[in-house]
Amino acid sequence: MFFTFLRRELAGRRRQTAIVAIGMALAIALVMIVNAVSTGMRDAQAEVLQSVYGVGTDLTVTATPAAPGDGGADGGPQRFEFDAGDGQTADGSTALSQSRLAAGPGSQTFDAAALDTVQGLDGVEAAAATLSLENVTFSGELPAMSQDQGGTDVQTAPGGDGAPPQGGFDGAGGSAFDVDRVTVLGIDPAGAAVGPLSAAAVDEGRGLEASDAGRAVAVLDASYAASAGLAVGDAIELGGTDFEIVGTVVSTSADATTASNAYVPLDLAQSLSGQEGKVSDVYVQAASADRIDAVQSAIEEALPDTTVSTQSDLAAQVSGSLGSASALISNLGLWVSIAVLAAAFLTAVLFTIQGVTRRTREFGTLKAIGWRNRRIVGQVAGESLVQGLIGGAAGLVVGLAGIWVVNLLGLTLGGSAGGGFTAGGPGAMPGADASAGAPAGGATGPFSAASQTATDVVLSAPVTVGVIAVAIGLAVLGGLLAGAVGGWRAARLRPAEALRSVG
């Protein structure tokens, strides 16, 4: 009787069944999508962190930023000085180029002895030190300087009776300069396999090896190498030294760049940047997850001038569209889900109450012919539960379709982590064009692509067992809630309601 009645009621009252089920379906689908997307966001954040800090890094040690005022000195603008004899002159133009290697913007260095200190601590499985640098290449063309053509004459009397200016990048006495920035990471080729490169794999050539210490060899990020037109076997000038490119690396997480544009042996990075015996980051792997906190406090105690960050500290630093999208999903998404879910539950409850009220005489009659409350409550609860489950099944389908669409869209989120890895500053310096005064075109081109190391992650919203369990659980919960309220109402009806007159 139970199933016959259940079937007849659900089929006979399709509109109510449909409304309750659709409400539940939409809410469940939304919860599933939000749930999957936020899982995807978390994965993406982890991916960003991994590409910067490496796999298995539990803690990072950085210098505590100094007080404002003397803090920016390392990464601040530097002066490029050219002697009279510098550059190559041809066709009335002098081409100049100089590269300088210095600590990356925002990163500060500390004594490399910190690594030994960290390695000596209890609970430290492995540790590696790196030096985060930035190579700035200043290159440009300017008109050739000759004895009979005083620079000041050209500048102060452009419309005078002297010969019109010649040479320069536009052939009319103009000048143009490019500032090219490359992030460089000094790593110990013989060091522990912890740190940024643990999340990278060799693409072409080879990685840095122990025998590379002290040699001018470099490994480039594959996407940087491609954008800069460099390949294995070529040379790259860093800090005035030509480095042989021995290999390229790619991030092991899809669609992410690696932590730096270039990787060079630590000792050379130190000497070329004038940071002898200094490092900027120490990557620490704890012996086990439960010892991370203890290791963190031990390092803080041993190295009072440093900042020790855990993975969750680092996650909070993930910035860019990924950071904001993640915040949006975890806040707005959560509240919207709760609101829609509450609305769906309320709809289900109200429609069930309305249904019971409409069927007052029906339930009264069933009581009059001897049905006990238990049976009637069970019937109402069963109907609601099945409505909820129909909604749950529909919601599961809609939710999976929604997640599929999200994955199909392949939303790309840009994220960056850590202070030293994104290049800031102006994109180009327009040349001083004496005669036309127009900014020099073409100077902005290669620069921005070359120095951008932020990580782009394609959002993938995974369908987990958890997502499906949430959908089914909510369907059952919604059905039981509506059924409990409806059943309670039905139980309170008097059997004498059967005698209520028709009109």
């Binding site: 016959t4 006979g12 009059a368 012919i369 059997p495």
Partner: protein, 250 residues
């Protein structure tokens, strides 16, 4: 201590509160109402039944008449174990309905009482067959047995060929026949009808009345019919009049 001595108090101590324990004694009173008063308390307290004392022998055909608001439906609720009196006793066979808990009252209704309503009160989503079977559900009758008995009951009211129809596909007279089949399928002792022909035209009314009377004769049922229609009331053995909660014999 002899076995008989210890057994005796046990047998007498077991209260016969199970209404179906003994075969009903149809020769004696089916219903006994003693000083039954029913008040509806609200903003204004209405006394729907005032100190009603009444006996209905088994197998009797009783008609209850009276003006609207006189208390007819309230009296039927007392007889039908649908409600309890505010004071007084209602005894059906061996069971004192006025003191039984709700679940026991439901059991009495399921096993012993058949109801027929003015508005038919069929479940609109269930077929005629399923509506009749619904009366057997609380009695724990197995599915196959339920199907058979419901089919027989429908045949008894002349609707064997309409078993698969839902109420909306049946005429008023046919719906009331289904309702009568639902009341009879449990083989009750008492049939209680509240204006059973109130929603029917005259021709159909007579058909239904003849059906009810035939069933009462065949099965020896006690039949209590509430009606405002004198033509219906005239067919009963006994006519009661209810006005302002007071019962008088006609």
């Amino acid at each position: 201590m002899s076995a008989a001595a210890s057994a005796r108090p046990l047998t007498t101590a077991v209260p016969s509160n199970e209404p179906n324990a003994d075969p009903p004694q149809r020769s004696t009173a089916m219903y006994r109402l003693e000083h039954v008063t029913k008040e509806y308390r609200g903003k204004r307290t209405v006394t729907a039944l005032k100190d009603v004392t009444l006996e209905i022998p088994a197998g009797q055909h009783v008609a209850i008449q009276g003006p609207t608001g006189g208390g007819k439906s309230t009296l039927l609720q007392m007889l039908g174990a649908l409600d309890r009196p505010t004071s007084g006793r209602v005894v059906l066979g061996e069971a004192e309905l006025s003191h039984l808990p709700d679940a026991k009252l439901a059991g009495v209704r399921a096993a012993q009482l058949g109801f027929v309503f003015q508005g038919f009160n069929l479940i609109p989503t269930l077929s005629a067959q399923e509506n009749v079977e619904a009366a057997l559900a609380p009695l724990g009758v197995a599915a196959a047995e339920r199907t058979r008995r419901a089919g027989e009951a429908l045949a008894a009211v002349g609707l064997a060929d309409r078993a698969g129809h839902v109420p909306g596909e049946l005429s008023g007279g046919q719906q009331q026949r289904v309702a009568i089949a639902r009341a009879l399928v449990k083989e009750p002792e008492v049939l209680l009808a509240d204006e059973p022909t109130g929603a029917l035209d005259e021709g159909t009314r007579d058909e239904i009345l003849e059906l009810l009377e035939g069933i009462r004769r065949d099965r020896g049922l006690t039949l209590v019919v509430v009606t405002h229609d004198s033509a219906v009331a005239r067919r009963a053995e006994r006519r009661l009049h209810l006005m302002d909660g007071v019962v008088t014999e006609r």
